[in-house]
Symmetry: C2
Subunit: 339 residues, 2 copies
């Protein structure tokens, strides 16, 4: 790769403003420590030259970057977009820049991305969920990297943690479903390996069934990737089995939307022939017909709170606390009585 054509440096500015580099540096970092007239002169030159501080030099010298990194499973999906947007806005208010990377739900790639972001100088990280190889946690620990885990709250976690309890959430929506008299339950879940959100939701379903005395024999599961098509295919699979389930619970709204779309194509009436539920409450949930009964996740609050916690940690604030947020079930039209 070519060298970047040389950019103006602190030196250049200093020379033209006839001051030392130290003074120019101070104009940026401790402006009140330089007298106004000098500062004005310097800033004018800065403007004229279009000078931008060289980030590499800065981190090298000061050992901090005012940058944090976030590694999310995927950007090609609305699930994380809203939360990350809020995360970023909160950081920006505190003059911290966000670097985003995506892992494609692959723990090995997540590890690489973590290393890469740290190399880039990230002061701290946002990670999605708890499930990752020990190797990754070892690295984080050894390098003493400040990080916050979000999108799943676990009381017993060793990490700083902002989010909702996916297991409780799974139970909660299952209980709602059971109120409608459903007995034969099918679940379309995302792959649960290294995806603790999916796993916990599923275990929540089991918890609820158990405490209502419903046998696991009434639970059928398909695990697949998160896409409209996967949801649709899994739906069709379930509906060609005998006996059919009375409700199909989906691991997220994308899967649920795929399921309902296929239902419409097959001439199956939701919720009269079968009920469908989602998880996340993204835009899609209100667009699909019938509208989706789903779990409302406080995306923006989660992003904002994660940012605040991470900033507190980075600023060395004492007694930083993990934070559990609550979800709500939102009843729309896709869940009805069991037949």
């Amino acid at each position: 790769m070519n060298k970047r054509s040389s950019a103006p440096t602190l030196q250049d500015v200093a020379r033209m403003a006839k001051v030392s580099t130290a003074t120019v540096s101070r104009c940026f970092n401790t402006p009140d420590k330089v007298i106004e007239t000098t500062r004005d002169r310097v800033l004018e030159i800065v403007e004229e030259l279009g000078y931008t501080p060289h980030f590499g030099g800065r981190t090298l010298a000061s050992n901090r970057s005012n940058t944090v990194g976030a590694i999310i499973p995927t950007i090609d999906n609305a699930i994380f977009a809203r939360g990350i947007q809020a995360f970023q806005e909160t950081l920006a208010q505190n003059n911290v820049t966000l670097l985003i990377a995506s892992s494609g739900y692959d723990p090995e790639r997540e590890f690489q991305q973590i290393r890469s972001l740290i190399s880039q100088g990230a002061d701290g990280l946002l990670l999605i969920g708890h499930a990752r190889p020990i190797k990754t946690y070892d690295f984080l620990q050894r390098r003493q990297i400040p990080y916050v885990v979000t999108w799943n709250y676990r009381e017993d976690s060793n990490s700083f943690n902002v989010g909702f309890d996916n297991r409780k959430a799974g139970s909660k929506i299952t209980n709602e479903i059971l109120k409608f008299g459903h007995k034969r339950i099918a679940v379309i879940t995302g792959h649960t390996e290294f995806n603790d959100r999916a796993l916990d939701r599923l275990n929540g379903v089991r918890d609820a069934m158990k405490s209502s005395g419903i046998s696991e024999l009434n639970l059928a599961i398909i695990s697949t990737t998160y896409s409209l098509k996967s949801g649709a295919d899994a739906f069709e699979d379930f509906m060609t089995r005998k006996p059919r389930p009375t409700v199909i619970m989906c691991g997220n709204d994308v899967l649920a939307t795929g399921a309902i779309t296929r239902a419409n194509e097959m001439g199956i009436k939701v919720p009269y022939d079968v009920s469908v539920t989602g998880f996340d409450d993204i835009d899609l949930a209100e667009v699909v017909q019938p509208k989706l009964t789903t779990v409302h996740v406080p995306h923006r609050r989660m992003g904002k709170s994660s940012a605040k916690l991470l900033l507190d940690i980075l600023n060395g604030k004492q007694d930083c606390q993990s934070l559990e947020l609550e979800i709500e079930i939102v009843l729309r039209q896709s869940l009805g009585n069991a037949f």
Copy 2:
């Protein structure tokens, strides 16, 4: 912000492996220039220490970062996600890291983000669309920053450019609409200031009407922000006017989906009472009922081609070429005959 606890450095590795820092460096950058036994020893220590190269030091010394930046209008929206994902994948295959920032459709913020990414050491940039203040182009020019403009192709552009011609696309779908006998046309567009995609699409509509001899008096326009609710509200606005339009063209699928959703709520039948069209062909387009007639944009191809072009430019390849991609109209159910 706290200092990051000290990470192992090249020095540490060198000391433990009993070689010079130069050799360790070579192990990473020109591995074939160091004999295998030494290399193995070094890499072992690297592994043991969990050493990660310090990015700041590296950029400082080598004046390149193997990083490129992309500034997109928003991440909270599926429009750009797929293209950016493809862009990133292609970069990753070439060991280049992507930094993403979002501008919120604000040219001033875009300018800041550009400076910020350059400060971070980005070797090149991906920018969406052509419309931005001269100030921004001046900066790009003066600093000789390699960049590619995407999401809109303009033949007369001075920038390297990958995308489709939004104006032609606007004409194309309008012509399709005119074939269905529509005469009273309403457009819900995104704000066109500093959004050349929106502006060009709109001008394309005008072009097509003109060359079919339809007066501009038959064109009504509402410009608004890109959200489901804005689309819905604008739809309702149009449908309470007299006479009603026979077709409502939307600047993207989000607006169109909002429009159809509101139509359903108001008991207005699409396409019997009014036709609706979208733009982009994202997932939403096939989920909403009736399915959306829209402009299919080659998101992934655009992302991939942009990445290739940018990499070529960065590698100093000669005769790099801008690239025009084609769109297609996809006819689904939301467009019908004028009544």
